[in-house]
């Protein structure tokens, strides 16, 4: 597809379980971002990957959250020992290569709606 895709679209899990959320960025985009959107709230930055550089993990709320990006493309956000407060929509975005004129434009996927019971 032409856009950012995320899977699953919805995830219901029990407190204490681990979850993995997947993001497929737009082909050729070197920057990839994860954000969290809680109900009625704005988007909270979690983590950012740029090419082969070390990721910016400054937004991760706790050490239960981690993310990786394999082969400079697909990314997986992992939440260990989920808590009820982790319930939110997790959004992935990508942007074009460093130095391009449109690099600031972030294209968002539809999100994964996570519900922790």
């Amino acid at each position: 597809g032409a856009g950012v895709s995320q899977s699953p679209s919805n995830k219901v899990t029990e407190k204490g379980k681990d979850v993995e959320l997947r993001c497929d960025p737009i082909s050729g985009h070197t920057a990839l971002y994860w954000y969290r959107q809680s109900l009625g709230q704005g988007l909270e930055f979690l983590i950012y990957f740029q090419g082969n550089s070390a990721p910016d993990k400054s937004g991760l709320p706790s050490d239960r959250f981690s993310a990786e990006r394999t082969g400079g493309s697909v990314s997986t956000l992992t939440i260990q020992r989920t808590q009820q407060e982790d319930s939110a929509v997790y959004l992935c975005a990508s942007s074009s290569r460093w130095g391009s004129t449109s690099q600031e434009t972030q294209y968002f996927g539809p999100g994964t709606r996570l519900l922790v019971l």
Binding site: Y35, G42, L43, Q50, L91, A93, E104, Y107, F108
Partner: protein, 113 residues
């Protein structure tokens, strides 16, 4: 320092009216200010963006007004339509770095038919 404050939280406008959403930022290093539109169940989509070297940018019915000295910018939707009903987010970032966006808290716009 990284905060972007957005108001109002919700807005109801009659069809054909003008919708105005305001944002203020603190970090003077921000130099790229996009607005995103989000429909229920969808991810945010870029609507319009401005850089601080201009005070206004217009695209169709959407206009951004920018006041650098006041560190404020606003979105104006002229001739608002029911199809404009969505949540609007302002954001800010530092261009040239592909840095993460700092978002406002969002405004839920409802345009009545």
């Amino acid at each position: 320092q990284q905060q972007v404050k957005q108001s109002p939280q919700s807005l109801i406008v009659q069809k054909g009216g003008i919708s105005i959403i305001n944002c203020a930022y603190e970090n003077t290093a921000f130099d790229y200010f996009p607005w995103y539109q989000q429909f229920p169940g969808k991810g945010p989509a870029l609507l319009i963006a401005i850089r601080p070297d201009v005070s206004e940018k217009k695209e169709g019915r959407f206009t951004i007004s920018f006041n650098k000295s006041a560190k404020q910018f606003s979105l104006h939707i002229m001739d608002s339509q029911p199809g404009d009903s969505a949540t609007y987010f302002c954001a800010a970032t530092i261009s040239g770095s592909a840095r993460q966006l700092t978002f406002g808290s969002g405004t839920q716009l409802t345009v009545l038919p």
